[in-house]
């Protein structure tokens, strides 16, 4: 790439807001693309009740209608509006993705810091994490769900548990690498102790990799939720999640492919948007990691 820019920091600061945005987008098109796409999807999800009809309303007379002016995305075998169901499905996916990312981020952060600090606990916790990571995540989630009554909360917990070890590993390695740094020694020598040390030195350094990891977990969480629902082991079938819509359209796929393809494409777009944000953030926050991937 040949981009010849000669602007100094002073000149840049005087740029009008629009131009500064333009610069930001040019420097990091990945984040920008992901953010725009995600913003569109989130707005659709939030506005779903105002934009669409009731996603649960059945009308046998309208069953398996192809996409048309009246039913933008067609209807399913019960005559339910796929447009309404897909937009409402976005709410389920986004809620699951964000909740999974937040919970596994918090638990992983806490465990990771504990492991990084206390060698004795570290050995035990990391062995358990290795064990959990040896189990393929969908299988583990399925097993957890088998044992309880289905529901959104159970699905979220079942997805969180296999994701936690990934966060723990990231956080722990950051804590360990920070502990080896001379400036931490000097901070300790200077009297910084315990919680203050944690808040001032450890947390800020953990934040960047944690956010990047959480983004990927958000995407993975949405994919796993859809897969679980698709297999019939996810959120209860009456909730219009994308996985459920696809699962319920399976038997009619050959005559009504829209019942599967449209929610599927929405899922892919959402995951794409979140992944793009993750890639962009990683490039911004953690250049060393970016070179590796």
């Amino acid at each position: 790439m040949v981009a010849i820019t000669d602007d100094t920091a002073a000149e840049r600061a005087e740029l009008p807001v629009m131009a500064r945005w333009a610069t930001a987008i040019r420097r990091n098109p990945t984040i920008a693309a992901g953010a725009v796409l995600l913003a569109v999807l989130v707005s659709l999800a939030i506005l779903a009740p105002w934009l669409t009809v009731d996603p649960l309303k059945q009308a046998t007379i309208n069953r398996l209608r192809p996409p048309s002016e009246r039913f933008w995305f067609g209807t399913d075998q019960f005559g339910r509006d796929i447009f309404a169901r897909t937009l409402h499905g976005a709410r389920v996916s986004l809620i699951v993705g964000l909740t999974v990312a937040a919970i596994s981020g918090v638990i992983g952060l806490a465990l990771g810091i504990v492991c990084g600090y206390f060698r004795r606990i570290d050995g035990i916790v990391m062995r358990i994490m290795d064990g959990i990571m040896a189990i393929p995540s969908i299988l583990l989630a399925i097993a957890l769900i088998t044992l309880t009554r289905p529901g959104l909360a159970v699905v979220i917990i079942a997805i969180v548990i296999p994701e936690v070890p990934r966060v723990v590993r990231v956080v722990r390695s950051v804590v360990l690498s920070i502990r080896g740094q001379p400036y931490i020694d000097s901070a300790i020598a200077g009297g910084t102790r315990g919680f203050k040390l944690l808040a001032r030195h450890v947390l800020p350094n953990t934040l960047a990799p944690l956010i990047v990891q959480a983004t990927y977990i958000c995407a993975a969480g949405m994919l796993i939720e859809a897969a679980l629902s698709f297999l019939g082991a996810g959120v209860p079938p009456e909730i219009p999640s994308w996985g459920n819509i696809i699962a319920q359209g399976r038997n009619f796929f050959q005559i009504a492919p829209w019942t599967i393809l449209i929610p599927g494409v929405f899922l892919a777009l959402t995951v794409l948007a979140v992944n793009l944000m993750g890639d962009g953030l990683r490039d911004r926050l953690d250049p060393r990691l970016a070179r590796r991937m």
Partner: protein, 313 residues
């Protein structure tokens, strides 16, 4: 070398032990009465007690655990609640389709993804590289079942080149067997290929900026030799690592892919067991899949010694 392999093999035992303890206690610490959940919504008191006795849940927990471990050590994974058949036999019956599907996917994905990644690194920031990166980013986002349905719609429903669903054992002839595996393998392999292509590109880019590549070029070697011998051999360790990590993707993907394509393998067995809450089967499958994953990682670790002469044991 042999000593190292033995040592590493021993090191996998704690991990497998954690998995075993985990799946054992999962059933016992789950909220509510597991026997009642497994027996189903409308089960009678007797039916629930029957399940409890069958799972041995009426005995003290440590006794249960000791008995379970003892049987596990002998290769006994327990008995299915519904069919009363040993779990090992059920798994054995369903093994062939899953092994065929995962192996074909693995081979095809690796054989395609590594060259794609090498070309992308070589042509970095040019058209070929952009296309590969677009594929890689999309491959990460497209869920396996969407890929599967799109493929079915195009190649089976519209073009009618390949069967929509089903599995034909290899005993029924090579072509029917292969024909049935093409779409499932592609659907299963998309994400895996994206992962491998991406790491190959990244690893190659890192290597191509090294001094020894400049040396190789200063010798006037053919581009092919520089890329495929000098660079790829150095880039191999992260690539092989990711191929191993990706096995988890394949195992998780098998569950979905076999459901979509109606293939009677371990994935289907898992889903059926889950829907019937046949916990011994789920438990057995988790152990088997975890063991496969741990063994694959072991093989990968050992392969490093062959890829990089600086690694000594």
């Amino acid at each position: 070398m042999t000593a190292y392999i033995l040592r590493r093999l021993l090191a996998t035992l704690p991990v497998m032990a954690v998995v075993a303890v985990f799946v054992f206690f999962l059933l016992r610490i789950a909220p509510g009465d597991p026997a009642a959940i497994i027996a189903g919504e409308d089960a009678t008191r007797e039916a629930i007690e029957a399940v409890r006795a069958k799972l041995g849940l009426d005995r003290p927990i440590l006794e249960q655990f000791a008995l379970w471990l003892w049987r596990l050590a002998q290769g006994d994974l327990g008995v299915s609640i519904f069919s009363n058949l040993p779990v090992t036999r059920l798994i054995g019956q369903r093994l062939e389709p899953t092994v065929a599907l995962t192996l074909s996917t693995l081979l095809v994905a690796v054989a395609l993804a590594i060259p794609i990644g090498v070309v992308a690194a070589w042509q970095v920031r040019k058209l070929a590289d952009r296309l590969v990166m677009i594929f890689a980013v999309l491959g990460f986002a497209v869920p396996g079942f969407l890929a599967a349905y799109v493929l079915i719609y195009i190649f089976a429903v519209q073009l009618q080149w390949l069967p929509v669903q089903g599995y034909r054992p290899i005993a029924e002839g090579l072509w029917p067997f292969v024909e049935g595996l093409i779409l499932p393998s592609v659907a299963l392999g998309v994400t895996y290929m994206a992962l491998i292509a991406r790491i190959t590109r990244a690893s190659m880019l890192e290597v191509l900026s090294q001094d020894y590549i400049r040396t190789a070029n200063s010798k006037g070697l053919a581009t092919r030799r520089v890329l495929l011998l000098h660079a790829l051999k150095n880039a191999a360790v992260p690539i092989v690592t990711v191929i191993g990590i990706g096995i988890a993707l394949l195992i998780s993907g098998v569950v979905i892919t076999e459901t979509v394509f109606n293939i009677p393998g371990l994935g289907r067995l898992t889903v059926d067991a889950v829907l019937k809450r046949d916990y011994p089967i789920v438990q057995g499958l988790i152990l088997v899949f975890a063991a496969v994953k741990v063994l694959v990682n072991l093989v990968i670790d050992i392969s490093y010694a062959f890829l990089d002469p600086r690694i000594r044991y």
